[in-house]
Symmetry: C2
Subunit: 322 residues, 2 copies
């Protein structure tokens, strides 16, 4: 099968046809029509086999995750996802693999009314780069720079399950099958917090998505906003599976250091707290206040009101010092 037919077959049959896409897959470029009232948010993330997902991950999960991690970035600025470009590098043509990959990819796109507008298919070691674009009312973008001292720190969902699943796959932990199946869903099929991101726009002072781990990502907001923060460890939202598998102390460490959660971390001023909790309540997403920003430029933690010394680092590629 030729490249052109391969792309055509899978990418032109997508159900989503947005009105703002004039030309989708099939010409030299896609052509989209922007609106003057909305800015465009653009995110690009690459997943490499064996680095960002275990080599034996199901193609459906890979397709889901490749889109999800990008929609998660859009959610973190409060954008409504609209268009994605998909660049796939494949070692060989395997129609079944592509079929499953596309299922995972398009399911998520259709759920959020996102159109695949183009991309590239090339031969080589397996990796996927997606560029996702979304629309956000001009001036309402949530940035990493907006946090203020005294703002409350929140996260959506529960933390650490994806990292626990990865520990089992890497042989660092041995989980009961039932627990593994549960947390593996969170590693393979992360839920981008798209609706929560949009609900936060009018209330949150800053936001980021948790891909590298809570401590690493929180430090990005601290760095960008020139702040420190204290995290109240007993408030961290941990799943029953995580606590059952690791015990509370190790569960907390995993929630702080583990990557791949794709939850949102965001900040809100005292004045906006009620408004935010009401708006987020309507989305049905779990959210928890876990700490507060302060002017110290350091990140500290407390457990039952006592300071703790926890040394954790988030996941970084090429991190030679870890």
């Amino acid at each position: 099968m030729k490249e052109f037919e391969l792309i055509k077959k899978y990418f032109t049959e997508q159900a989503v046809k947005r009105k703002d896409v004039l030309i989708g897959v099939g010409d030299d470029c896609a052509i989209v029509t922007p609106s003057e009232k909305q800015n465009i948010a653009i995110a690009t993330d690459t997943l490499v086999a064996g680095v960002h997902f275990p080599v034996n991950t199901s193609p459906r999960a890979i397709g889901h995750k490749a889109v999800a991690v990008n929609l998660s970035d859009l959610a973190a600025v409060g954008a409504e996802p609209s268009w994605v470009s998909v660049a796939i590098t494949l070692p060989e043509i395997d129609e079944e693999w592509i079929d499953e990959f596309c299922k995972g990819l398009f399911e998520l796109c259709e759920y959020y009314n996102v159109q695949v507008i183009g991309g590239d298919t090339t031969q080589g070691p397996l990796s996927i780069t997606i560029t996702a674009q979304g629309l956000v009312p001009a001036g309402q973008e949530m940035l990493r720079t907006g946090a203020k001292s005294g703002d409350w720190i929140y996260v959506t969902g529960e933390l650490g399950d994806a990292a626990l699943a990865l520990s089992h796959i890497l042989g660092k932990e041995t989980l009961e099958q039932a627990i593994f199946e549960k947390v593996k869903q969170r590693l393979d099929y992360p839920t981008p917090r798209v609706l929560a991101g949009q609900a936060l726009r009018n209330y949150a002072s800053s936001a980021i998505d948790l891909s590298d781990g809570l401590m690493a990502d929180l430090s990005h907001i601290c760095g960008a906003s020139g702040l420190g923060a204290n995290i109240v460890l007993e408030k961290l939202p941990l799943s029953d599976s995580l606590v059952e598998a690791l015990g509370e102390e190790k569960a907390i460490e995993t929630a702080l250091a583990g990557g791949d959660d794709y939850e949102l971390l965001f900040s809100v001023s005292e004045d906006n707290k009620v408004g935010l909790e009401t708006a987020l309540g309507h989305t049905g997403v779990k959210f928890t206040c876990i700490g507060q920003f302060n002017p110290s430029e350091k990140i500290t933690t407390t457990l039952n009101s006592k300071p703790t010394a926890i040394n954790v680092k988030g996941f970084e590629h090429f991190a030679t010092n870890d």
Copy 2:
């Protein structure tokens, strides 16, 4: 060195700062401000080491080419390039390599006032995926579907030099050093026809960029427009190097089948021919009329007014039947 510092160091120091980029590198997403009068053209192309460039290609050439092939797609619809997202997968951190790669990449971006707005750096086998975006006045996009029977077929520049250089590198041809050096420039540093693409907008009925080879790319326009075409072989613009190295017959074959030219192929009606030639003349780009579309749905060639039978196919990834 950590991923974040690596990205920061090279990608935040770019000279181009566009007014329509509100947030560039450094947050979850880039944020850009569109204009209601202009549509956005979006192209994504991946270059894989050993597939799209020889493994010993200089990093500077790789950086140049990764941007150039995407700007070439934008040129083919008549768009003015504006923003690029750069996803690089690298086997290891090599500061010198990255420095040279960035030089090649940013030189071209600066020339065309294009801002690098974000991307991703990951570890794995060498490949680069760039998503380039450009602006085009609404309704003036040149598409593959617009050619009409009787329209004249033109190409910019000269054809086949890049393919000749690749033949030498692959050991299929042995070139004199002086000739090789000349044509290697065309393989390593293709010139995207950005200004020509914009000049064509008001005159051309269709356009495509030549990446897979003249015959393959022409067949895409024929397919999209429901037409056939005849190419007048003695009109093909061949470089002196190509004819000197291969002789005329083989030079013509190479010009028809060879990929990687990144010239524009476009069509124009009899009525618009003079306007087009005047507009293109101002850009200083060489252009040549090489044939005409017809209703036959076949591509034929003539040499000195006699039909010829030439069997050539363009380059396709995964092409198992060739």
